[in-house]
């Protein structure tokens, strides 16, 4: 009887700890999520009551909507490029800043600054960098070293251009997380490794990386989720005066840009919700795989 009572007591604490968060969570997230889940099976223009249509939205999206697949491919390319690049570079920056160097706080601030710069200023500068012909800085630089100019915001290059801009803009965010993670690694491990004569790389490989695994898991999962849902960067770089998002021939249309277009521009909330759940499905599988892989590693 006693162990059971003790167990119950411990669980009571746990529920008390997660309680406040979960009440908020249920009211403001779970209920809305179920509402939109229901909408995904309806035809719903927001202003008139939804009409139940079963799996019609899903069927239409998967089998009759080339735009969806175009957006899916673009998004996959975007995720596959930004996530590894951003993680690798920001980890490198974090490790560099975490060395015994001066002006640490300045460097941290500078690298974080893109995250807090007005997106309008960011887009003005990047559009100038990318502008075609002699008007753009990149092309100016390219032509001065004899490389023929690239049509950065043309059909073939818009997506890569957005990827470069996103990686640049997201470095500070991940850097902060990695620095926080690095602070949690006990110094003694490094001291011990130094006694053994380990090189910098060995220390990084054998101490920093494994002990950073929980942070890494977090950064990876969050990066994938947010990259999959990229919208702002696409919006500012491809927004046209007619209100279309995604660039010429949908060259940079991502899945959430498409969702925004269907839900809020074209009043097809049912269809947009179905898109949202397809996004969810993909992300869920990716995340579970991720967690299983990393958590297996943590356990050794």
């Amino acid at each position: 009887m006693k162990p059971f009572a003790k167990e119950f007591n411990r669980q009571k604490w746990s529920y008390a700890f997660i309680g406040p968060s979960f009440i908020l969570f249920t009211v403001f997230l779970i209920i809305p999520v179920f509402a939109s889940l229901y909408w995904s099976f309806t035809q719903y223009n927001i202003l008139q009551p939804p009409k139940f249509v079963g799996f019609q939205n899903y069927i239409n999206i998967i089998f009759h909507d080339p735009r969806f697949w175009k957006a899916m491919i673009n998004t996959a390319i975007y995720v596959a490029c930004t996530v590894p690049a951003s993680i690798a570079i920001s980890l490198f920056i974090a490790v560099a800043i975490d060395q015994n160097i001066r002006f640490k706080n300045w460097f941290k601030t500078f690298f974080f600054i893109p995250s807090i710069t007005s997106i309008i200023a960011v887009s003005v500068i990047w559009k100038w960098l990318y502008a075609s012909g002699k008007y753009g800085l990149f092309n100016h630089a390219l032509s001065s070293v004899g490389i023929s100019p690239v049509n950065w915001l043309g059909v073939d290059w818009t997506l890569p251009s957005i990827i470069i801009m996103s990686v640049w803009g997201g470095l500070g965010y991940n850097m902060i997380l990695f620095i926080a993670g690095l602070q949690g690694i006990p110094q003694v491990f490094y001291e011990a490794a130094e006694v053994d004569g380990a090189s910098e790389w060995e220390k990084f490989r054998n101490i920093t990386l494994p002990l950073l695994a929980p942070t890494m898991l977090f950064v990876t999962i969050m990066s994938i989720i947010s990259a999959f849902q990229v919208f702002d960067a696409v919006y500012v770089m491809t927004y046209s005066s007619e209100g279309a998002v995604g660039g010429a021939l949908d060259c940079a249309l991502t899945i959430v840009a498409y969702l925004y277009d269907t839900g809020f521009q074209r009043f097809m909330m049912g269809y947009a919700s179905a898109l949202a759940y397809l996004i969810f499905l993909v992300l869920f599988v990716v995340t579970i795989v991720n967690m299983k892989l990393v958590e297996k590693k943590i356990e050794y």
Partner: protein
């Protein structure tokens, strides 16, 4: 004791928040006493403040207060949507030209044709015909124009001399410019349906037939227009992506461009060096002799949820008066958001330089807006795609138009 205390701290905090919350179940949104109209303006705070000021004069005339609040363009659509769902709409809303029809058809806007037919006729008769056609949807009108934005041609007087009068002159001018590595920019809707629409109309075509029963992009006129429009990109060096228009114009790389009327103000700001060295002109005439351009702007309407429908409509009428539009024009002259009045009578008293006023008015008289029809916004994408396929991927004009035509027809049947 020790075991209970911290838990209770957590739960107390919790209760505390609940208590904090409870008084608000009664509802926090209070309506002000007296008659006050709330108007949302898509646009800048400055214009909104000016309208609130004009509302003070209106209050003296009628005893109805007016408050105008600005909402930003990018998110206006979502804001209106949620306000309708939440039953917290303003009394008057201004919005993009085609939104009035969209919201109205879903029952969110008052049908002005039904509720105020006599007044509406007065307003419709006074505004540019192309604009008023775009606000009519079947037998209903959900909104009337608040302002005008129109396409116009800009050219460097010191480099070009006389602006091209028709397509032929345009292409021969461009051929000459091309020889010196120069060209033209089509701004605002380049490589899209807005850019194309004017060449379509100038060629004598249209998107749909008169009855709006079928798309007409498979006609010879549509093809002529498209051929000419896309050739500008393919053969005459019109840039396929966004360019810094003012800069290119100033440097003389693009001594001619087509864009919206707001570039007048922006050229004066950005390129003061070439003040007096450029002019504007009507668009070049197509084979039919028409110089039709695209016209757009914001519209204003009354929301169905409004409790002050008559008063709101009264204020809309007020804002449609020439003397009031003149005040609005003068007040926003120095600011960056241009306001051009939609009422033709206002133009008679508009204190604007004749070299600007004449072409602007002439062009506005010979202009058309987007076809007023449900699902138009969705259909435009297929026209855009056709244009982009022709220019960027070298697709055949006729074939691309045929696909777009089918899609337009399919959406008509829905």
């Amino acid at each position: 004791m020790r075991g209970i205390k911290p838990v209770s701290i957590v739960w107390c905090l919790f209760l505390f928040f609940l208590v904090l919350i409870l008084p608000c179940f009664s509802g926090c949104v209070k309506k002000p006493a007296g008659k006050e109209i709330l108007m949302w303006l898509v646009g800048s705070e400055k214009q909104a403040q000016k309208i609130t000021e004009l509302g003070r004069d209106y209050y003296k005339e009628t005893g109805v207060k007016v408050r105008c609040e600005a909402i930003s363009w990018g998110e206006a659509h979502s804001k209106y949507l949620t306000s309708v769902v939440g039953e917290v709409t303003p009394d008057i809303g201004t919005m993009g030209l085609t939104w009035g029809t969209e919201f109205g058809n879903l029952g969110a806007m008052v049908d002005l044709q039904k509720d105020f037919p006599a007044d509406l006729k007065d307003i419709e008769d006074s505004i540019f015909p192309g604009l008023s056609a775009s606000t009519k949807f079947k037998d209903s009108v959900y909104a009337v124009p608040f302002d005008v934005s129109e396409y116009i041609m800009y050219y460097r007087t010191d480099m070009i001399g006389k602006p091209p009068k028709d397509w032929k002159e345009l292409t021969s001018l461009l051929a000459e410019l091309n020889r010196n590595g120069k060209s033209m920019i089509i701004d605002w809707g380049g490589l899209g349906w807005i850019g194309y629409s004017q060449f379509l109309w100038q060629a004598g075509g249209d998107f749909y037939n008169k009855e709006r029963a079928a798309a007409t992009l498979d006609t010879a006129a549509a093809e002529t227009g498209m051929e000419f429009f896309t050739d500008l990109y393919k053969r005459y060096g019109v840039p396929k992506e966004e360019k810094p228009v003012e800069q290119g114009f100033k440097m003389g790389d693009y001594p001619i461009f087509i864009s919206g009327n707001w570039k007048i103000k922006s050229l004066a700001d950005v390129a003061p060096e070439i003040n007096g060295k450029w002019g504007i002109s009507q668009l070049p005439a197509g084979p039919t002799g028409k110089r039709t351009g695209f016209i757009g702007g914001r519209v204003m309407g009354v929301f169905s949820q409004s409790k002050l429908k008559n008063e709101s409509w009264g204020f809309i009428k007020y804002l449609s008066r020439p003397d009031i539009q003149l005040k609005l024009y003068e007040a926003t002259l120095e600011s960056h958001d241009t306001y051009l009045p939609p009422n033709m009578k206002t133009w008679d008293i508009l204190p604007m330089d004749a070299t600007l006023k004449e072409p602007l008015k002439a062009q506005a008289m010979d202009s058309k807006g987007p076809p007023s029809l449900l699902g138009w916004d969705e259909s435009t994408r297929y026209i855009d795609t056709a244009i982009q396929l022709i220019v960027l991927k070298g697709k055949d004009v006729k074939a691309a138009l045929a696909v777009a035509n089918d899609e337009l027809n399919r959406r008509l049947k829905k």
